[in-house]
Symmetry: C2
Subunit: 169 residues, 2 copies
């Protein structure tokens, strides 16, 4: 059971977007550059987030991605489900109905499969934990715990891409 790499990338991207000023957007190429990940593949995942209603996207020059809602209203679970799928990891194939002891009428299996119920319960606990934290929480955590040097470098890079844009105009 392995989670897609895209989850880590997109959650980091959302956290960065949450730190941007209101109404500001950032193209996928810049997001990829900041996180040192392959740009085309990251774009694919960001599109999935746009489809899920987590990001809004603008085309053309000065275009890019931005959070569709305030960061505190976006849970990490939403991002994970947008990338990794909404269906639970465990899929019950109703083994108990098969084989020599199975084959009975559906009415004989009214109680849920015990293993299925347990797996669903564990899955629910997992999702509950991810739903309790928002992108806004993560952004605050980063702002509070990141070293001043790292924040300084991020700010410097952010200014650099601003002058890089104004140079073309």
């Amino acid at each position: 059971m392995r989670m897609s790499k895209g989850v880590e990338w997109t959650v980091h991207c959302c956290t960065l977007l949450a730190a941007l000023p209101e109404g500001t957007n950032m193209p996928a190429a810049r997001l990829a550059e900041f996180h040192a990940v392959p740009a085309p593949y990251l774009t694919k995942h960001l599109q999935a987030l746009a489809r899920a209603g987590i990001l809004d996207s603008d085309s053309g020059p000065r275009g890019g991605f931005r959070l569709a809602r305030p960061a505190p209203e976006i849970t990490v679970l939403e991002v994970v489900e947008a990338i990794d799928g909404r269906e639970p990891a465990f899929t019950c194939t109703e083994i108990r109905r098969r084989g020599p002891a199975g084959g009975l009428a559906a009415s004989e299996y009214r109680k849920p499969c015990g293993i299925h119920a347990l797996m669903d319960s564990a899955d629910e606990a997992w999702r509950s934990e991810l739903a309790a934290t928002s992108i806004g929480d993560l952004a605050l955590y980063v702002a509070a715990t990141a070293s001043p040097k790292a924040i300084g470098r991020a700010a410097a890079w952010f200014q650099q891409i601003s002058v890089r844009e104004s140079k073309t105009s």
Copy 2:
């Protein structure tokens, strides 16, 4: 993020083995027959459980698998980890250290990555839920909730394989 089918199969197998009389074992072929799953592939997974110390195996005629410990002392988490691996689904690649804002000394990243911490927390909640239920609990649940007809069929099949064995002798 999809869990291996082998998890469902082996948990069902362990539950069945828990229902067997003390000291009784069952070969992989019978377990596969009862659950209507491919025997060779199930064998592969049962071997993983034997390696993990969950099952004991006997070779030769009258051989087979049996629980290595009392069913209440075997948690579902053990079975899941034996099949699906012990490492967490999410792997942090320390994205924050890469890119234009990264590249600082390791001492600048003493606080753990927020996303990493959250994912570990969710993973812990998931594992905790699976560790709270034992194979013995599942066996009791099945015995309490399965329909009398299903239990009757299982008993009939169990008797049938017994006479099938005695027929050869």
